[in-house]
């Protein structure tokens, strides 16, 4: 309990003194996560739309599997990426293990199914509206996907933000592939895990509050940006 209060104080201290170590860690967290979200969105959003507009044999099953993959256990993803990038693995020669790139790869694997799945659900409702029109206009697949993604862009933001949330809070996978190396691959979540292991609960809590504040700020920012857009474009 007391630790929570101390954690709050700690969080304020960290933020207001602009602790350089904290800034470095926050910077890396953001860099890794934003990159991962962008890559995962580039794959996941069109994939979600594609699954909506195409009818194929095992469509339902594919969607069920996609939904299931939202639950990919991070540790397993971490292990898998580790094995791929390890020196004795197939991509070992690139020396990517214990680098931010490895962390991005792991996060992309974790959040792509999440983004695709939420985007699928969003787009499905829009497609129910647009179906007849877009078929009637003899649109190509790609034209359908772009129309749906564009007109559904504000709702798709939720998918991206969900991916962001998942990625920025994730620890299991990036611990394994990043190694939590000081000044190199240490991010907020791995620092929190480290401090927890040392029993420094107040400090860990402080970092946790910083992380939550970060996530809230980003969400408010995106929401207000997308609202501005609504007023002007519409």
């Amino acid at each position: 309990m007391n630790d929570i209060a101390q954690g709050t104080i700690e969080a304020f201290r960290l933020i207001f003194t602009l602790d350089p170590d904290l800034l470095e860690i926050v910077g890396l967290s953001l860099r890794v996560t934003v990159t991962a979200v962008l890559i995962a969105s580039l794959i996941g959003l069109p994939l979600g739309a594609w699954l909506v507009i195409n009818r194929f044999r095992f469509r339902r099953q594919t969607i069920a599997v996609l939904n299931a993959l939202m639950g990919l256990p991070p540790v397993v993803v971490g292990l898998f990426v580790y094995m791929m990038l390890s020196r004795s693995g197939p991509f070992g020669v690139f020396g990517l293990l214990f680098t931010p790139t490895a962390m991005i790869i792991a996060q992309v694997i974790i959040i792509t199914p999440l983004i695709a799945s939420i985007s699928h659900q969003t787009i499905r409702d829009l497609w129910a509206d647009y179906h007849d029109l877009l078929i009637s206009l003899n649109t190509s697949r790609w034209q359908r996907i772009t129309a749906l993604l564009w007109d559904g862009r504000r709702a798709l933001l939720t998918a991206m933000l969900a991916g962001f949330g998942r990625a920025i809070g994730e620890v299991g996978a990036i611990m394994i592939v990043g190694g939590n190396i000081d000044h190199s691959t240490r991010v907020l979540t791995t620092s929190i895990a480290l401090e927890t292991g040392k029993g420094n609960f107040a400090f860990a809590m402080g970092l946790g509050f910083v992380l939550i504040a970060l996530a809230v700020t980003i969400n408010l920012l995106m929401h207000s940006l997308s609202r501005t857009e609504r007023a002007s474009v519409w």
């Binding site: 007849d132 009637s136 034209q143 007109d151 474009v233």
Partner: protein, 234 residues
């Protein structure tokens, strides 16, 4: 691409036959009005011809390959489908699909909007239009493609008297320019004004087809007679 030939065409949904079997030919010229009580299958018949409703049995054939025919048709839905965009972008969308540059597409769209009395509404989001304005938008969007065949499903249901007259003029003009029109309507006056021939639907089947003058003067079947008089059709 005409004639369009329906040969034992059946529309079935989850085991239930909605329309058919239908044997019907839509010749190269004329303006066909589809009439019939509510739920008799007018909409389904139009969708079947346009390719929106899967043909469960029998055939629906154009004089050209299907792929070619698909690009030369337009359809106005019974309840207009508004894309979540501005009015002008809705009307310009079919042009955009054909790669017309944005600026040019928008200016052409603006002209069409003006012809349909939407000149003031260009920059408004289409979903907020009034019922009649939506129907006008849908008509403009369909005609802007200058289709060879145009399917209209009760396009004037929510229009005021003046708008109906104006749109009938535009349709007559389009017909004179070579557009084949197939239109469902409940408006007996409109049917009399426009039809060259009538398809009378009843209970999911084509009950009677006849040239318009003959149909309105002396329908061949008791059901059509009752329908024209607004009597109970049983």
């Amino acid at each position: 691409m005409l004639p369009l030939t329906l040969d034992g065409a059946i529309a079935r949904v989850r085991g239930k036959t909605l329309v058919g079997p239908v044997d019907l030919q839509i010749g190269a010229t004329g303006l066909t009005i589809v009439m019939g009580p509510n739920g008799s299958g007018k909409t389904t018949l139009l969708r079947l011809m346009h390719g929106l409703q899967r043909v469960s049995a029998g055939r629906v054939d154009w004089a050209v390959p299907d792929g070619v025919a698909r690009g030369r048709q337009a359809y106005v839905f019974q309840s207009p489908i508004m894309m979540r965009r501005k009015v002008v972008d809705n009307i310009a969308y079919p042009l955009a699909l054909h790669g017309v540059p944005r600026r040019q597409a928008r200016s052409t769209a603006a002209e069409w909007a003006a012809r349909f009395g939407l000149g003031d509404a260009l920059e408004r989001p289409a979903p907020y239009l009034s019922g009649g304005e939506k129907q006008k938008l849908a008509l403009a969007r369909a005609l802007i493609r200058q289709p060879e065949i145009l399917f209209l499903d009760e396009p004037c249901a929510n229009l005021d008297g003046r708008a109906i007259r104006e749109i009938e003029t535009i349709l007559q003009q389009a017909r004179a320019d070579g557009t084949r029109i197939v239109m469902a309507t409940h408006d007996m006056g409109q049917a009399r004004r426009l039809a060259t021939d009538v398809v009378f639907m009843y209970g999911g089947k084509v009950h009677e087809t006849a040239p318009a003058p003959a149909f309105f003067k002396q329908p061949a079947t008791a059901e059509a007679r009752a329908f024209i008089n607004g009597d109970i059709v049983e």
